[in-house]
Symmetry: C2
């Protein structure tokens, strides 16, 4: 492997989507940002759009802005459906947070499988997913059946299949694991779940904008995801939800807010769910976050998921190669080795992961720490260059080689 | 009554909080905006704050912004508690939408009253409130007992009291009615509810920032409200929720998201609710809307609720006086006559309310239409001048006198 910076530069020169970096606001060019899978960067178009939405639409148009804003959740959902998730128009909509959407769709699924007593998830699922499911199980007296997953290899479809029986109502898993980046086999797991009559609900937070999501190929039933990671919609931007079209007429979610009602603005007596995916909406949606999600979806759509996934694979492969060459066994790979089995982040394991993470930040590189003992490197393909990977991994090497990390304690870090 | 514009100007000259208008971004000075109770105006401080949050905090600081953002929901909640709702620190927090908060707190209240079979509300409550309660009642097999309220006079405490018995778990009403502006007697109703052992949940959407809310005086248990009306936090900004401190340890809400978990960032196994009002949080909160809510709360706190309520009463009194003088019985008052019984909006009734509303918009005045046959005039006291009321009511008079409204159809309008 060529370890020179020149080689990284040559990879950037050949990158077919390298020019998208110029569409982002990057005021600190010395910073190496390896955390676009926690919070994506600010697109220039979003910066302009938000100024216009604040000054002209809110400031000037005032309440008349709603003539436009009212369609934002659906139009952004349709763009995500067409270009990011590859599903049908009317199957995706922006709404609430990932956690609230998980609750709504999981509850809807459980209602659609009355008499069944089990929810299946795994112990590597993102915390909020596990907690939301635990709450639903407790409220309804159901069993939350937790499959054991290898934290580095990702969910094993055979273990999930072994946990399935006719009493399972819902299988809820992450498509790309937040820790290891491992991609779950959505087709195999959904097929197994459907075989026993269960519904599937997928968390796409680390998938949307980074990899192909086989919702259609798998026949997956439900999904949720955030927009502030690879979709670059900014901190706390609204999440999205997906409900397969043929399920929409029969599924009902538990929070009967006015945005989910048929003929909402008649404000009439009694709740009747909207005839579309709108029935999964609840309250007045956040407009600024909605616009940021729209712009983030646009830039993602322009680059194309296949190009993004290919570059994500190349970037993570390159990081793994540099780590092996420069750090050897001082840093263990804690992600699948095969790039087709990973999302756009890669994770390494070391007992000193926490102090190394702190020392790296001091050296101008922002990775993420994840329990237990993991250093997570997110390489968002829309704006991360091969020279960034080279520079960041070189600084990582120096932090380890010089022992600079030894001055940092082992305090548990904040993660988001 | 002096009908001259000079009189309005003299009222503005004496207005002790008139100078707050200069703190808002008002690009269209010809527009008369009577809809600040649907969507408040843009404060200049918010405009600056959002630019800084977008460029510096998101664009430059990236994920490090969360070191600050993580406290936004609580710090804004504490400011609302201290200066807008007059309750204790740690009793208010920003979260989700009003509808989702209603669901969480209503569900928590029902769980705290096991075995009771009735939720009480009224037929004048805002649609989303009625729908959310209907959904909870349906899911749990409870009775939703709907008190009949006079649409102009507001909720009658005696009728509510008559609907109460030992089977009532929860009484959920709006403090200021969205249609008439009538203020419900929170003290009398809460006292009656507590007498039968029920909990109370108040919708403060049209109260927060416009009137004194007697949460403490009444001993009210729970409340929710939005920030995009009188608190000027912009379209779809996050809502707030209030839980009386002594109830927090025992109440649990149903959506077990990671922001509600004790020691959230340990990301550990199993959900345990936070020991504070944070247990009513769910997912990752919207940062831009959170900042807008903070700035909106600041400007409201600076003016002071008593000054705002006094000016709101004076503005609505003035509008009622001008309407009576100029339009007589062509426009009936559809709000309480006594200003102490109203919020900061006033509503008129006319069979032609819909076309009048459209003609007014064409004449540069933005009111709101509400079913049935109502023209709603919102007079947000932070930036509405007496000359605005004079000008807007004069244009209303002209629209009616000239029959300009006759060219508009009777199509039902969109409202938000």
């Amino acid at each position: 492997m060529d370890l020179s910076r020149q080689y990284a530069e040559s990879l950037d020169a050949q990158d077919p989507i390298g020019h998208f970096r110029a569409q982002f606001y990057i005021p600190d060019t010395a910073l190496v940002y390896f955390d676009g899978n926690s919070l994506g960067r600010l697109p220039l178009a979003t910066r302009e759009r938000l100024r216009d939405a604040i000054d002209r639409e809110w400031g000037h148009d005032l309440i008349r802005g709603w003539d436009t804003w009212i369609d934002l959740a659906r139009s952004t959902g349709d763009l995500l459906a067409a270009s990011v998730l590859h599903v049908l128009p009317g199957e995706v909509v922006l709404s609430d947070s990932t956690s609230v959407n998980l609750y709504k769709l999981a509850a809807a699924a459980l209602d659609a499988r009355p008499g069944r007593g089990v929810i299946v998830t795994d112990d590597d699922n993102f915390p909020t997913d596990r907690y939301v499911l635990e709450g639903l199980a407790a409220a309804r007296g159901l069993e939350l059946r937790v499959v054991t997953t290898d934290l580095d290899a990702g969910v094993d479809p055979q273990r999930v299949a072994a946990a399935l029986d006719d009493d399972v109502a819902l299988v809820c898993l992450s498509h790309v694991a937040y820790r290891s980046g491992a991609i779950a086999d959505m087709v195999a797991i959904t097929t197994a779940a459907h075989r026993v009559g269960a519904l599937t609900l997928w968390d796409l937070c680390h998938s949307a904008g980074s990899v192909r999501v086989p919702l259609r190929e798998s026949g997956a039933d439900l999904a949720v995801g955030c927009t502030y990671k690879y979709l670059n919609a900014g901190p706390g931007a609204p999440a999205f939800l997906y409900v397969r079209r043929d399920l929409q007429a029969t599924l009902r979610q538990p929070i009967w807010g006015w945005f989910g009602r048929r003929d909402q603005f008649a404000m009439g007596a009694g709740y009747e769910p909207a005839g579309s995916v709108d029935r999964f909406l609840v309250g007045t949606p956040p407009v600024l976050g909605g616009y940021a999600a729209l712009e983030g979806a646009r830039i993602t759509a322009a680059a194309g998921i296949d190009a993004l996934a290919a570059k994500g694979a190349a970037l993570t492969d390159y990081a793994i190669g540099l780590a092996a060459a420069w750090l050897g066994d001082r840093l263990a790979l804690a992600s699948p080795r095969e790039s087709a089995r990973r999302g756009s982040h890669v994770t390494f394991r070391a007992p000193e992961a926490w102090p190394i993470c702190q020392a790296l930040k001091a050296a101008g590189v922002i990775p993420d720490f994840r329990t237990p003992e993991r250093l997570r490197i997110g390489l968002a393909p829309l704006y991360t260059r091969f020279v960034d990977v080279h520079e960041g991994m070189a600084r990582l090497r120096d932090v380890v080689d010089t022992g600079a990390y030894l001055s940092y304690g082992a305090e548990l870090g904040r993660v988001t």
